[in-house]
Symmetry: C2
Subunit: 198 residues, 2 copies
DNA sequence: GCTTCATATGTCAATATTGACATATGAAGC
DNA sequence: GCTTCATATGTCAATATTGACATATGAAGC
């Protein structure tokens, strides 16, 4: 059986890059940095993955590049999304919701805390709580920057979508913080019951 | 340079399998089904990944198998976690929190909804809301089954950990539902403003 | 003048994941 | 008797991801 030379469908990383480029044209290097923040909040990729994916997107006609002056040892390429790329992204956004594989290390850890002493479990919960609190603070400060601008209230402006996703991040981290506090109470009362039973 | 014949560190799938086996010994087939539910709520893997991973865990001494009667064309193997495997899992549970790569397709879609008409965006939000509502119902019914049992209040019992993770699922899905309702309001009021501006 | 760092683009080996293919048995329903 | 399905374990090719290696420039600080 012959294999076709790639070109099937755009993977999810491709849509992340198209979404980035639909907001602003960028070089691969800039995309890698924008992928850390803000897109890194919901999608992550290294530059080692980004450069080949850009080449694939270009082969499919979804992006095109122009060479600009830059500091690297090779020509610096600035990419922009094409009409076809924008269309593909739009169609994906409202397309079928396919079940995505779940990879939630935090919950996997907690599902196994019965194996360790309640004191160690409590420490883990407190560490997780700190992480959530730090993320919440970052989201809140970013949200404060966009919340009141008129663009963030125009549903066809990228800032509108940024506002919605940041709001979701804030809400989910607040819920996680409350969950951590609830878990702490559960562990503490269980430890207390154990002690007083003696 | 020679490559060592695997055996470095257990991947995350390995810990998911060890956690499953620490609760109850199982065949690979049973693990694949238990991986769908309940572990599938926070970690997923196909049987094509599970069988090779079991072999690697066995090579490292973390699990061992006995052959039992079964229906398949090959001998059916029942795996159990060893003391070394249990220790490795315990150490991982309270070990360093490494930043995990994020892959959140739902947020990636929403981050791009400015590209589509508000009406289509609204439809997407409603579809996402339905998904969250269905998941919430599943978590709530599972939580109701364990919540009141005494084992679920003993921090060294697996049911305790199940209860904590289910509670987290319920809380996060409730927050997501509220977020969806909030997004609907945002979209509807933006659409209304647009109409009345004419 | 020298070191360090941000800029900049790429490749490659190792590993992880997906989805299909392969195969065989026993039980249930028709 | 035949079909279908759950049981059961595995392999393999394609794809995705990670992390390291490679390389070169200009600016800043010493």
């Amino acid at each position: 059986m012959k294999r076709r030379p790639t070109e099937e469908s755009t993977g999810n990383l491709g849509f992340a890059l198209l979404g980035l480029l639909a907001r602003r044209r960028s070089t691969g290097y800039e995309l890698a940095r924008r992928m850390e923040r803000p897109v890194g909040y919901f999608w992550s990729a290294h530059h080692g993955q980004i450069y080949p994916e850009l080449a694939r997107l270009e082969a499919r006609g979804f992006v095109r590049h122009t060479v600009v002056e830059g500091a690297g040892p090779r020509p610096t390429k600035r990419y922009a999304v094409t009409a076809a790329g924008r269309k593909a992204l739009r169609e994906w956004v409202v397309g079928e919701l396919e079940p995505q594989p779940v990879r939630d290390l935090e919950t996997l850890r907690l599902w196994n805390i019965w194996l360790v002493e309640p004191g160690a479990a409590l420490e883990l919960v407190q560490k997780l709580r700190q992480d959530h609190a730090a993320r919440l603070a970052a989201y809140e400060s970013e949200l404060a920057e966009v919340r009141d601008s008129p663009e963030a209230h125009d549903p066809r402006n990228p800032m509108f979508a940024s506002r919605l996703t940041l709001e979701g991040g804030v809400r989910s981290r607040r819920a996680a913080l409350e969950w951590c506090d609830w878990m702490r109470e559960q562990l503490e009362s269980a430890m207390h019951d154990q002690t007083s039973a003696h």
